[in-house]
Every structure is written in C-alpha cells, then in structure tokens.
C-alpha cells in the first residue's frame, strides 16, 4: 500500500541505503517499508541495479601500468631507480664536452709534440708515463717497442678519446 507522504521520505533515504550510509535502525526501517511498498521496491531495485552497472565503469579505464609505460615513454623517461636517478644528477651536460675536448687536445698535443721531438721518442715517452702510472709495464720494455706498434697504440687512444666524448654527448642528449 502506497502512502505518498511516507513514500516521499523513504524515496529520499533509498540512495543512502544503496550507498550503505544509513544507520542500522534506519536501514532496517527503510528495508521494512520496501518490503511492503511495491513502488518503493521498484525504485530501490532500479537504483541498486544502476549501482551494479556503475560498478563496471572502472573497466573503461586502461590498466594504470600501461598508461604509465606510455606516458614515461612519451616523456623519454627511463624508469630509473632512486640510486640511478642520483647518478643522473651529476651534470654530465656541463662536464662531458670540456672533458672530451681536453682529452682530444692533450692527445693531439702529445702526438704533435712527438713530430718535433721525434715521433718514436715522444710516443715511447708517452707510453712510458702511462705504463708507469698503471704499473703494468716498465720503461725498459716500452723502449724496445716497435715504432709501428707505438703509432697504432696512439691512434687507438685518440679514437678511444673521441668515442668517449661522443658517448658522453649521447648520454646528455638522452
């Protein structure tokens, strides 16, 4: 039996019942009324059905991990760990170019110096210094190196300097 005045009150409470925000006693009262009143029951069932259908809305949203992968990809962000992120804070963009140029200039200077002093002697001296620094070779053994081997080694070091500079620049651009 529909009593419009009380139905009006219950109609207002039905959304709260569906939300589960009504207190126990009041929820019981509304449920009682719904049990007796076909009009309010239809209203409750329609709202509960809508609630169920709305519950499917999240399936419209793609997986968060997939969105994150696309966004970080578009931003060119590599998903670094915290430690790597700290390393990335080293200002390579400021250091790479001067370091690379210095390395190339030093190598070239030593090489050109070798022309004036006698290529073999210069390269031998240079390699002796390096060998002394790393402790791997003795100066006596270096003196006995073939000039061709020394020239090849020097060229390889120049190439290495250039490759290092280019790699540093590529890291910075990334």
């Amino acid at each position: 039996m529909r009593d419009d005045r009380s139905c009006e009150r219950y109609e207002e409470l039905i959304p709260d019942l569906v939300d589960g925000t009504l207190s126990g006693a009041l929820a019981g009262e509304v449920r009682d009324h719904i049990g007796r009143c076909p009009g309010c029951r239809r209203s409750y069932e329609a709202l509960a059905g809508l609630e169920r259908e709305l519950g499917a809305l999240p399936s419209l949203v793609p997986d968060g991990a997939a969105v994150a992968a696309t966004v970080t990809g578009r931003l060119g962000l590599v998903r670094h760990s915290r430690a790597t992120a700290l390393l990335r804070r080293i200002p390579l963009d400021r250091l790479a170019l001067p370091l690379g140029i210095t390395a190339v200039v030093l190598a070239t200077w030593r090489f050109i110096g070798g022309i004036f002093e006698g290529m073999t002697a210069a390269l031998t001296g240079w390699l002796s210094e390096i060998a002394g620094a790393v402790g791997a070779l003795s100066s006596s053994s270096v003196e006995s190196f073939d000039p061709l081997i020394l020239a090849t080694a020097s060229a390889l070091m120049l190439i290495a300097c250039a490759v290092l500079s280019l790699t540093a620049l590529r890291i910075v651009r990334r």
């Binding site: 259908e53 419209l60 949203v61 969105v67 994150a68 966004v71 962000l77 670094h80």
Partner: protein, 200 residues
C-alpha cells in the same frame, strides 16, 4: 599482513612528486599508475566518451610532469593533478572544431567479436551506462565519474571539487535519479521496439 606493511611503506604522493622532480622516472610512473583513474574521470567529465580520451589523458600526465615544480603543496597533490587534467581537457576541447560528430556508443559493439554471451551483455550494459552518463549535465557527470570511475569517497570528491560534502551527496543523488529515469525510458523504448518488430 604483508599488504598492510606494503601500504605503510608505500611512498606518499608528495614523496613521489619530489623524487620525480629529482629525475626518478620510476617514481613518476608510480604516480601515474596511482592516479590514472582520477585523471580519466577528470578528462571524461569534460570530453565525455570519445576516441581521443586516451590521448588527452596522456597529454595531461605529460603536462603534470612538466609542471610538477609549480605544485606549491597548498592542497593535496591529487587535487592539483585533478585540476591540471581538467584544465587541460577544457583547453583541448575548446581548441577542437565545433562540429564534432556525436558518438554512437553502440557502434564499437557491432564491429567487435562478441565473445561469450556474458561479455556481450556486460559490454551492452556498459554502453547503456555510457549513453546515460552522456545525457547528464557536466557537474553531475563529474561527480558520478569521480565516485564510480575514480572510486573516490564523498569527502575526497568534496575536496577535489571544492564544495561541501552535502553538496556532493545531493549532486550524486540527483545524478543517479536522472540516470535511473533515463534507463527506465531506454528500456521502455527497447520494449516498444521489440513489440513493433514482433507485430511486423
């Protein structure tokens, strides 16, 4: 138990934002994962359902990343994210051609492989809900999407929209009543169509 520990150890939004600013890409990815549904709700509240929602969402996240430094911490980060995404969606829509073609929500279903019967029913129900949502006025749709799509509580919605919680409740109740009425109309129309088909 492990889940509780996991939650306790989960970094806060503010911490993730700080780490993102320090160049921690993984932290920003976590932020994106955490707020994907919120940003979708913000964008869809402005654009409705459309093919370009995914693009606008991605661009909104890119904007969020580029502007992280300007987040002043006066509100919760989620509120700021919501507002950046919403503004981005509004700007994108206003730049669009005015004569946009209305979407036929049923169209994708016709071309897709229906798969199992339940899946087809689920998709139909979803399409129905989307059609109904599209009929709601902006603010109502926004509240419904924040509640159901983003899964936010009433108090969170109130904070995001800068309105009292009572207003959120009222908006949501009205929106649901409107949707309910629309769904009833829709099912009556479908019944009438079925009857007509049977007569013919």
């Amino acid at each position: 138990m492990w889940m509780e520990d996991d939650l306790l150890n989960a970094p806060t939004d503010d911490e993730l934002a700080r780490r993102s600013l320090d160049g921690d890409g993984r932290a920003f990815a976590t932020l994106v994962e955490r707020h994907t549904r919120l940003v979708y709700a913000a964008v869809r509240a402005v654009t409705g359902d459309g093919d370009d929602v995914d693009d606008i969402v991605q661009e909104a996240f890119i904007r969020i990343y580029r502007n992280l430094g300007s987040f002043g911490g006066r509100s919760a980060l989620s509120t700021w994210i919501y507002s950046v995404a919403r503004n981005h969606a509004i700007n994108t829509v206003s730049r669009r051609r005015p004569e946009t073609v209305p979407l036929d929500a049923a169209a994708p279903l016709a071309s897709d492989d229906p798969g199992p019967h339940e899946e087809l029913e689920r998709r139909e129900a979803l399409a129905r809900i989307e059609q109904t949502l599209a009929c709601l006025d902006g603010r109502y749709r926004e509240v419904v999407e924040l509640r159901y799509l983003a899964g936010r509580r009433y108090d969170e919605i109130a904070e995001l929209l800068g309105v009292p919680m009572g207003t959120v409740k009222t908006l949501l109740h009205r929106a649901r009543s409107r949707m309910k009425a629309l769904l009833i109309d829709q099912s009556r129309d479908e019944e009438r169509d079925d009857e007509r088909r049977q007569v013919l």
